[in-house]
């Protein structure tokens, strides 16, 4: 007889982490907030008010209304679609960004899965699954728009992933570790964005490609591909796709903050280190997504060939140069100690 209550009691901290923070509840909360924030923030730039009818001027109830609408809608599955893959993908896709978030430290020692000191590698390993599942959803729907969108997604991810990986190798060399926890601790004095400025630029552009937002929302290009790989999804399945998209944004933004902007480090406001760390990481997150949304509204979308060319001809050499510069800077000027 398995002692479930005892098991839960013994592992209570990990359950809290998985279910509340930074796990399920936090991801859902962020997605809900981000959708609302995006609507209101972009609306102001477009000289609009954003949603105002549900939930007074702030329009916060609009999300509830939208979610209810999507949940109660009929699930339409195309006749020629591969039904099993089509449905399974919708549940698989949000899991991947959620698993990526599991390795991000939110406070000293507060991480769901420390990965025995290889958390950065694990993050990238999981993130490579995203396009694989992504092409499945494009293929399963058996639609021209989804297939073209899925192929674009693969091209874009390969062109964006490699510069991003190589740019973060600069951080790894500078910090001398794969452990995100240690990387954050090392940034107590100085954020890595300053010594790694070149790497950060490469990382940031690649990061925009990884989260597939304008100027790199090429797979879901609305003007020509309806909604890219997500075209055929309706109702609750569409909700899942939105969830995975925003969770992906969350995971990559958290990684950027962790690698370059000092992670949970910040002046002590709350006496509890966990609350303090979480507070600072959320503040940084808000600033980051505000910048992200501003970029989304001010630029046009790149063409797929331009994006791939940018990835392979500019970002890749720059990221290699960054590794070289990091080695020179660290081992010849600083003597190997940061």
């Amino acid at each position: 007889m398995v002692d479930i209550v005892g098991f839960v009691e013994a592992n209570l901290p990990i359950f809290i982490k998985i279910l509340l923070f930074p796990g399920l509840l936090f991801i859902f909360g962020f997605v809900i907030f981000a959708v609302w924030y995006q609507r209101k923030y972009l609306a102001r730039i477009m000289l609009r008010m954003g949603p105002v009818h549900c939930g007074k001027r702030l329009g916060w109830l609009q999300l509830v209304a939208d979610a209810m609408k999507l949940l109660t809608k009929e699930l339409i599955i195309p006749r020629a679609a591969n039904k099993i893959v089509f449905i399974v993908v919708t549940f698989l896709l949000p899991v991947i960004p959620a698993a990526m978030i599991a390795v991000i430290p939110f406070a000293p020692g507060y991480v769901i899965y420390p990965a025995s000191g290889y958390s950065l590698l694990l993050f990238f390993a999981i993130s490579t699954l995203f396009p694989v599942v992504g092409i499945l959803r494009g293929w399963a729907a058996n639609n021209k728009f989804t297939i073209i969108g899925a192929f674009r997604m693969i091209y874009l991810d390969i062109a964006g992933e490699i510069p991003v990986f190589l740019a973060s190798i600069g951080v790894m060399i500078w910090a001398g570790t794969y452990d995100l926890q240690k990387i954050v601790e090392l940034q107590k004095g100085m954020w890595f964005v300053f010594p790694q400025i070149l790497g950060f630029i490469v990382f940031f552009i690649g990061f925009l490609g990884m989260i597939e937002k304008i100027p790199f929302d090429i797979p879901t290009a609305e003007s020509e591909l309806v909604y890219g790989p997500n075209t055929e999804y309706s109702g609750a399945m569409f909700l899942n796709m939105m969830l995975s998209d925003y969770a992906n944004v969350l995971a990559w933004t958290l990684l950027m903050i962790t690698l370059y902007f000092g992670g949970y480090n910040g002046p002590t406001i709350f006496p509890n280190p966990i609350v303090n760390g979480a507070f600072w990481i959320i503040v940084k997150l808000l600033i980051a997504i505000s910048i992200l949304f501003t970029i989304m509204i001010t630029y046009a979308r790149l063409r797929i060939d331009q994006a791939i060319r940018m990835g392979w001809s500019y970002l890749l050499p720059l990221s290699l140069l960054n590794i070289l510069l990091t080695i020179i800077l660290k081992f010849f000027l600083f003597g190997g100690v940061v």
């Binding site: 477009m46 674009r152 290009a221 003007s223 020509e224 630029y299 046009a300 790149l302 797929i304």
Partner: protein, 381 residues
Amino acid sequence: MSDMMVYRGNPFNEIEELGDGMFRLHMGPQHPISGQGRFIILTDGERVFDIEVDIGYSHRGTEKLLEHRTFIQGIVPVERMVMIDTANILMGYVGAVERILGVEPPPRANYIRTIVMEMNRIISHLYALGLLSESAAWNPAVFLWTTADREPFLDLLEMLTGARWSYSFFVPGGVRADIPRGFKERLLVTLDWFEKRIDVIEEAWIYNELFRMRTEGMGVVSRQEAIEWGVAGPNLRASGVAYDTRKNEPYAAYGELDFKMVTHTAGDAYARGWARVEEMRVSVDIIRQAIENMPDGPVRVRVPQRAKPGEALFRVETSRGEMNVYIVSDGKDKPYRVKISPASFRNFFAIEMIPKTQTVLLADAPVLIYSFDPWFLDADR
């Protein structure tokens, strides 16, 4: 039955028909751009081999209807062709009718017509620019900006004509009403404000690096091709052909005003977009001059009911390009035959021809289409 099931939604059965990896994508028929129509794009995923424009979803038989209506009754069906460009479209018909009836509108009516037409051109160009910015995957920011900038002009038109759209303001022999009190002052204030807004749009959009990456060198129409294909309007001038009906065959008050013709030589999507921005400046200039030089007098003269047998061709510069109206009369109070050749009809032909002459990618297709600012209802008639 089972064959039908396989056929529906299965993109791969087209492979046998079209060759390996080729798709036929359908943009439309529900509002691929403003209006109902369809673009059938033959593509292998990224490269576009052929664009076929399928128009006619809102064909109303305007030409046939006009044969069954008196000259003045024809105003309403004609101006419904392009809601956003009512005044210029209507000018084509009214001008042709005046020519076949042999009447000249009074000078004051000509100036009022010019003001209304140029305001309408600004409205139409703003809309076109908004759509072009959206097609290059801008979020609707610029589109909503331009839509908002349109409002003061629509309010002014309502003040003048009583309606925001489709105001049937021009009639054979003049205009329906004189300008109301306070209109001139309000218009001048609006123009001052609008000139600043053009600067903002230009700075935010025309000089935007990513927008230039998307549009420069894309969909190039050379001067020779533009003449060969019969491209119309700002698109023609963007290819370096100095044709503007307002200059070449002046109508209304354009012959008495001094304005510049916007021409570019690049002939790409960027030049077409930019030409529209510059044309809005020219329109502001024209309106200012027209207000300043406006003569006094009546705004409408009586016209005969019946036309003499004969024919007349009237060319007019609408916002989308030159439209010509060819009227044949047999001496009755109805036209015997009206042939309307709208600008979008010709621009659609250019859109079909461009993928045959150069590489167009799938992501370019919307930019290419919007950069011509075509209008399905215009081409459908």
